[in-house]
Assembly symmetry: C2
Homo-oligomer: 236 residues x 2
């Protein structure tokens, strides 16, 4: 089935190239309202096709690393970020994704804590954008980001993913702000609090967040592992 030492007849036999890309989400305060919003880092294309346009960070799959390793290496190299959550999103393999050649991209999505995101590399060719205000991206990357957002919203509803956008300690209001930013609608503080308090994975600490303008909120901690991807089967 898999021809080992093939008769490389110029055009037909060339296999599709395999690339890894990553959609990276982090919360940053909006310039206007100051409330946390979803941002993601993009890299500028420095060659054709789509030269000059912004694109998801990515690169080819090296021969000696797993898919997930390739994704986190790429994350580190292009943006200097260490993700708190990393999961495979989808394999995109349409015929005309790139005008010059056939490329199959295995795309991951990642969450980064605010502390990490603050010290991320930003340069001429790497810049952060609000997830709801991207321009036209290279390749099919607009559609990919849309799908990643859809997945993020879904996973959020299921439960365990919001805390990877926050630090180790957080207030319940901060969790609510994550939900409001991602789902883009306001939630009742009292009802939201009731739901969180009923989930056993959120642990009350004895500490309170000081320095605010109003009543100091209690700090909580998240205990519990994320889902069970094939990649994370070790954590079973």
């Amino acid at each position: 089935m898999y021809s080992s030492s093939a008769n490389v007849s110029e055009r037909q036999a060339a296999p599709p190239s395999l690339a890894i890309s990553t959609v990276i989400f982090a919360l940053r305060p909006s310039e206007s309202s100051g409330r946390p919003t979803l941002w993601l880092p993009l890299v500028r294309r420095i060659r054709e096709p789509f030269k000059g346009l912004w694109a998801l960070p990515g690169g080819p799959l090296s021969h000696s690393e797993s898919l997930q390793d390739a994704a986190s290496r790429n994350l580190r190299e292009t943006t200097g970020l260490a993700p708190s959550y990393l999961e495979q999103l989808y394999a995109f393999g349409g015929l005309h994704r790139s005008p010059t050649q056939r490329v199959v991209s295995i795309v991951y999505w990642a969450l980064v804590r605010p502390t990490e995101a603050a010290l991320a590399d930003e340069s001429e060719n790497v810049r952060w954008f609000r997830a709801d205000r991207l321009g036209e991206l290279a390749f099919d990357h607009n559609a990919i980001v849309e799908y990643a957002l859809w997945r993020l919203r879904n996973k959020l509803a299921y439960g365990s993913v919001a805390y990877h956008l926050l630090g180790e300690y957080f207030t319940l209001a901060q969790v609510r702000e994550v939900y409001e930013a991602v789902l883009d609608r306001e939630l009742d503080p009292a009802n939201f609090r009731r739901q969180l308090k009923s989930t056993p994975e959120i642990e009350e600490t004895g500490e309170y967040l000081q320095g605010g303008k109003h009543r100091p909120p209690r700090l909580y901690r998240f205990t519990g592992r994320p889902g069970l991807d094939p990649d994370n089967r070790s954590t079973l």
Copy 2:
């Protein structure tokens, strides 16, 4: 980044091969109880590695077809089946999946209606197995089937997938049998019926299933499209 006409220095430069495989589910009556159970077709390995073991149907990705097209072509060629549902499962890319070379497999999962499954090709090298009684499969295919089963159970709970394992017309008891077979637990007939009747996608027909031993049940029809994968974006 992607070396076009590369200096093919024997070992390192060879990119990982890209393959497509499919986990195909269908309902068949159990030999013992006669009640519907989950089955899936496997193909026998006729060469090394894992020669003689059973494996998921699959093959290389041709240069001129999309991932989904490759999956359905492979489905048709190896088993003669036309699926009623087809969705990408996951891209498996561990380093040691195949002992002889690095292979990245993009795996799809499919559902087949009973009528289709009945006239499926079965031969010396293609055979159906009960999903809960597979032996040791080639490569990491046991883990892949496990993950596919997990996905099937999840999608079932969400809603729209059970009907693709049934014919166009069905009784509510048949839907319940699908759930019982996949989730492997009994469900209360009255409560289950109440839930189904509250979903607008299930349409009552004027017809009844005749020929049974007891009160003839009403026939229903499913109206409504499956989920919104990137592959199925056309159906938005």
